[in-house]
Amino acid sequence: MPLIKDGRLAEDRWTPVADDEAIGADIDPIVSLERWQAEHETLSGRNRPIGLRLRSDQSPAAVAEEVERFDVIALEFPKFTDGRSYSHARLLRERYGFRGELRAVGKVLRDQFTFLLRCGFDSLEVADERLAEAFEEATSEISHVYQRATDPGAPIWARRHGPAALGSEAACTGS
């Protein structure tokens, strides 16, 4: 599947492996949560990077304590109307401190790109290479946001008042 990273088509060095599939010595696998939990020791003992794939009904809370073990975490969108992975992505980034590659996989369409980036995804697995060409336009159509999310972009309300008015955390909480 084509992969968009940093707005461009990118090489995918990761190999998704099924639960019953042997993991070759020279590949960097993306494994399911079930497999990670069942083969925890073996997988942790491998001297190579490892990726994790979570279904949309699997909370990342299950790996909250060990996110630094993964170089990539892929969150599934089984239907593009299934929005659970947006929340899961924010938890991984904002609460569990995951700094690796956060990948959206499954039904990932052009009209979700901005939402995905704002929730902390930095790579998108898409069905069609042409979506990479549409990326620039799709993510620049709306340049204003009304709420804080994972991305560093300043919400409209912060821009209205400027950094001086909002400098301290006390200002942010209104007090």
């Binding site: 929005g83 709306i142 340049s143 009304y146 409209i156 209205r160 200002a171 909480t173 209104g174």
Partner: protein
């Protein structure tokens, strides 16, 4: 009222351009109808029985005269000369052509309006008390909160693909005119023991096929924590709400299945993690928004104009209209006027382009240029000098808008029903029209007093039948339209869900059945009891006995 600044205007312009691009991709065939569907639904565009329907947001039901005139232009140029005001304080146009939708959205954007999130499984247009800012009993104008929520929810990246649609209502007064206990989230403003203003937070109310009264999950939320607390509720819902069954996907089912205590614990736990982390609005921004809703400087007005008394004495039609339409204003010498969009024999909530223009003119001439849409599908002029009431009445008469039935038996809420909607099992509007004709005699309506009849054409309950004094639900029985009647529903702070009185009635029988119930009430009421008060005293049985004895 709120005015867009450059950011708001730019945001809406960009959203219109984005949607116009999506429409172009659909028209060129690049997008299939299946692919286009979720995109159009995020912008209020439905495919109905006969054509597309565009639902335009009227945030918390507040409109300027200029905006109302623009709606009239759209009705005339892109629809068949009328629009339909909805129970969520929005307006629907039933006949726009897809290719014209971008042009309609441009025209709306010019007057600071849009159709963002009026449909789809996202946070919908937020609703509020139609008497906001002018009601006697108000603690704070709920539109400040509603506007904050409108902005925060607009293209929220995390909450745009929720399990199901999500409706938030706000009331600033103890007398709840916004039905907050029947929303996914209801916010009721109140003061704590120190006099600080905050919210009582209600979650999981709703109508539809499973009517539920919301649970109170927090007794007092300080205003400054509004957005982080909403984030916490929405996040819990987004992650845990059911997605396997469309009919069990609303937050009310999650609250029921999780249990209110556990649900509350989850929300509070989530909130502890995100409060004071910069997700709430800074005080400066709250004050900026608040300033738009500051009460206007009311010119002094006579509190007991002699001309008003004289007009009441000489014009009985005016006196009757006044009794139904006028509500108390917090400012002496002023009144709040509700304009009925329920003419006898008409479709509830419909207004022609000419009527919209007439209301805009009257709002400027006799008010401060502001208009409200009520969830009961009427319009409101919030600031009318008492001395102008008679002239206003005459202006409304000329426009065919002076029906003296506000709050009475023919002031019926009805969904579009089988005439327009592809979900409906039965007609709603013709039932409302027949009832209107049956109770056409205004003297009799005034004799009956306050009585809310609400009609839904299917179990999705868009006509709010669960919370009507008399609720009517259209059902399909072997291909024939039947109507089930419920009594005793209430949308307000004494929230109650109506009880089914017994076997349903055919289309031809239902008018007689309602008449029978009204007659029973007139026979048993004591000391000027309203229908709701009488029902609370006697319950369902006396009505049931009379109703089925006659059949």
């Amino acid at each position: 009222m709120y005015r867009y600044d450059e950011f708001d205007a730019d945001f809406v312009a960009q959203r219109v351009a984005q949607f116009s691009g999506q429409v172009a991709r659909r028209l060129s065939g690049e997008l299939s109808e299946d692919e286009f569907k979720p995109l159009r639904l995020m912008n209020g565009l439905y495919l109905q029985l006969h054509a597309y329907m565009l639902r335009v947001a009227i945030p918390y039901g507040t409109l300027s005269a200029t905006q109302m005139r623009r709606l009239a232009v759209i009705a005339r140029e892109h629809d068949r000369g009328y629009g339909h005001f909805t129970t969520r304080q929005n307006i629907q146009f039933n006949w726009p052509k897809l290719a014209e939708v971008p042009a309609i959205l441009d025209k709306l954007a010019e007057v600071e309006m849009h159709a963002i999130q009026t449909s789809g499984n996202c946070i919908r247009n937020v609703t509020a008390d139609q008497f906001a800012g002018v009601a006697e009993d108000e603690i704070e104008d709920p539109r400040i909160t509603a506007e904050i929520i409108r902005q925060w929810s607009s293209l929220h990246p995390e909450f745009t693909f929720l399990p199901r649609k999500f409706k938030i209502a706000v009331t600033g007064a103890p007398n709840d005119r916004a039905a907050v206990r029947f929303h996914d989230i209801g916010l009721q403003m109140l003061r704590d023991e120190n006099g600080e203003v905050g919210f009582e937070v209600w979650v999981g109310g709703g109508q539809g096929r499973t009517p539920v009264i919301a649970e109170r999950i927090r007794g007092f939320l300080p205003k400054r924590y509004l957005l982080s607390y909403l984030d916490a509720i929405l996040r819990v819902y987004n992650m845990l709400g059911r997605r396997d069954n469309l009919y069990k996907a609303r937050i009310k089912i999650l609250v029921q299945q999780t249990g209110v205590e556990e649900f509350t614990r989850l929300v509070e736990e989530e909130w502890q993690q995100i409060k004071d982390r910069g997700f709430d609005l800074p005080e400066a921004e709250r004050r900026r928004i608040e300033a738009y809703f500051a009460p206007p400087a009311y010119p002094a007005a006579e509190t007991h104009p002699a001309a008003l008394r004289a007009a009441e004495d000489s014009d009985p039609g005016f006196a009757q209209w006044l009794q139904a339409s006028l509500a108390e204003h917090r400012e002496p010498g002023y009144g709040i006027v509700t304009i009925s969009l329920k003419p006898i024999g008409g479709a509830p909530g419909d207004a022609t382009a000419e009527q919209m223009e007439a209301v805009a003119d009257l709002a400027e001439r006799y008010g401060l240029g502001e208009i409200r849409v009520s969830h009961e599908q009427n319009l409101v002029l919030p600031d009318v000098r008492l001395s102008d009431l008679h002239a206003l009445y005459q202006g409304l008469l000329d426009a065919g808008l002076a029906t003296a039935n506000v709050g009475l038996v023919s002031d019926i809420i009805a969904c579009p029903g089988l005439d327009y909607c592809n979900l409906a099992n039965a007609r709603s509007i013709p039932v409302a029209q027949r009832l209107g004709e049956r109770f056409a005699d205004l003297d009799r309506q005034h004799e009956i007093g306050p009585l809310k009849v609400k009609i839904s054409g299917c179990i999705n309950a868009c006509g709010h039948h669960h919370v009507g004094d008399i609720g009517i639900l259209g059902v399909d029985r072997k291909g024939e339209e039947f109507y089930q009647i419920t009594l005793g529903g209430r949308p307000d702070e004494q929230a109650a869900i109506g009880k089914i009185i017994g076997p349903s009635f055919s289309y031809d029988e239902v008018t007689d059945a309602v008449d029978n119930i009204v007659e029973t009430y007139l026979g048993l009421r004591q000391d000027g009891e309203t229908f709701a008060e009488a029902y609370r005293r006697v319950g369902l049985d006396p009505f049931k006995e009379k109703l089925y004895a006659a059949h």
